[in-house]
Each structure stands twice: as C-alpha cells, then as structure tokens.
C-alpha cells in the first residue's frame, strides 16, 4: 500500500491533535473539585459568597491553563501545521 508523505503527516497530525486533547481530563477534575469546595464553603459561610465566588473562579481559570495548552497544540497541529514545512 502506498501512502504519500503528505497524507502520512496529515493523518499522524490528526491523531496527535486528538491525543493532545486528553489534557482536558486534568482541568475537568480540578475545576470540579474547586467548584465542590466552593459550594461547601458557601454552605458553611453564606455571608462570604462574593469572595468565595471570585476566588473559586480565579483558581479554576488558572487550573484551566494546562487544558488550554493542549487545545492550542491541537489547533496548531490541525490548522497551522509546522511539520509541513519540513517535508
């Protein structure tokens, strides 16, 4: 079976993009844990809801960064593939 090198790079890039998005597991678990702890904190001290909310959102946004690195790598592999320049 003959596969052209472009098709091979394209296919492997698509698989790589899919694998890169496995990075989404970590932020999912982390954000869920933060939200759970936030809910518990509001239950314990309903008066501090505003502070808890903003702290929780900030922490979740920072935790999200690792997942976004995976997303950006996936996007680069699909739409601005640097490997094509090396063919």
């Amino acid at each position: 079976m003959n596969i052209s090198s472009e098709a091979f790079v394209l296919g492997c890039s698509a698989i790589g993009a899919g694998l890169a998005l496995i990075a989404g597991i970590g932020p999912g678990v982390g954000q869920g844990y933060a939200a759970g702890q936030g809910a518990a904190a509001v239950g314990r001290n309903p008066g501090a809801k505003g502070d808890i909310m903003s702290t929780m959102l900030l922490g979740q946004a920072v935790a999200e960064t690792t997942g976004l690195y995976g997303l950006v790598i996936g996007l680069i592999l699909l739409y601005a593939n640097p490997l094509f320049a090396k063919l």
Binding site: L57, A61, E64, L68, A80
Partner: protein, 242 residues
Amino acid sequence: MGMIQAPMLAAASGNDVDFMVHGLIPLNFFGHKVWITTTHVTTLIVMLFIMALALIARRSIMKDYEKPSGLANAVELVVEMLDKLVKSTMGKHWKPFANYIGSIMFFIFIANTSGLFGLRAPTADYGTTLSLALITFVMIQYSAFKTRKFRMFTDLFQPIPVLFPVNVIGEFATPVSLSLRLFGNIMAGTIMLSLWYGLLPIFAKLGLPAFLHVYFDLFSGAIQTFVFAMLTMTFIADKRNA
C-alpha cells in the same frame, strides 16, 4: 497565526466551515508582505463602539450634572463597582491602575461578545491577546522595579541560586499563560459555532445556536474578562506590595 498554512482539514469535510483570520488588504512593509486582516477591522469596530458609548455617557453626565438621571446613574454604578473591585483586590496602591483595568475590561468584554453581532471576535486572534498580555507584563516588571529597585534581579536567585532559570521562565510564562487562556477560550467558542453553522443542516441552525451563543460568547466571554482583569491586578499587586 503567522505559520505555514497547512491545507485546512475541516474544509475537506464540510462545505463552508470557516473560522480563520483572513487577509483583506496587502501592504508592503520594508520588503515584507503584511496584511490588514479581519481582526484589524473588527478591532476598529469595537473601538468605535466603545468611543461612541463613552461620548454618549459623557454627554448624559454633562447634561444632568446637578441631578444625574438615566444613563449617568448607570455609568456611575459601573464605575463605582469597578473601583470597589480594584480596591479590594489591589490594596493600597489601587488608584493609578483603576483606569487601565476599566479600559481592558470594557475592551475585552465587548470584543468577546462581538461574536453575537456576526463579527469574528478580535480576541480569537493570538496577536490581540498577546499584545494585551505584554502590556500587563511590562506593568508587572515596572511595578517590581519601582518597589524592589535592583533587588528585583537578586530576587531571581532566591531562595537558592540554582533556581535562577526556573524563576526567569516563571516570569516569562506569565504573559504566555495569560494570553493563551483568553485566546484558547474565545477561539474554542469560535470554532464550535462555526462548526455548528457550517456542518449541520438548515433546521439545526434556527434557534438552537442561541444557547451556544449564550454560553460561548456571553458566559465564557464575561468569565474570561473577569479572570484576565483579576489576574492582571493580582500579579501587579503582588509586585507592588512586596
């Protein structure tokens, strides 16, 4: 993205899936070809919108200076909320930064929600978010220099000198993570919506995308605006109050 354009994968599967930045007018700049892109145009539209909003608000404030009414009250409310937020996050050095935080919050929020009006959000271009993050980076380093003077450089060797490379990478990772966070979120929303509009049959495009717009443009846009401003304030206050 200024890299080599690979053949677009999505173009092969759908009929008109399109969410890339397009060049409109080529310019010759010292022998390099640079493009006026859709991002420039949408940024200009956002800027004009904010300017119009500011002028209308100014007129309303000037008109009813004695007893404010209508829009003047709303603007006052927004400014007061902003001042309170900046004050509670940044501590005693909040005053010079309130204007900057207000400006970037307005710009990022209106840029993020411009997807609602059929524009391609300017913040879905890495150039926009990176420049916003670089402004923050310069402000962080300037604040560090202002409080720590030349101890700022010896701080990089704390707590043990071996950690110097890690500390330097940590300083430069701040703008990268700040810009990629905003870019990734808005770009993900742009891609999702253009896939929905490009690949599904006509009856799925009526009504249903409204929910996607509410989540990806409004909710995600507002959260990312808040997060960008909060992180900017936290980083600056960290160096400023050190």
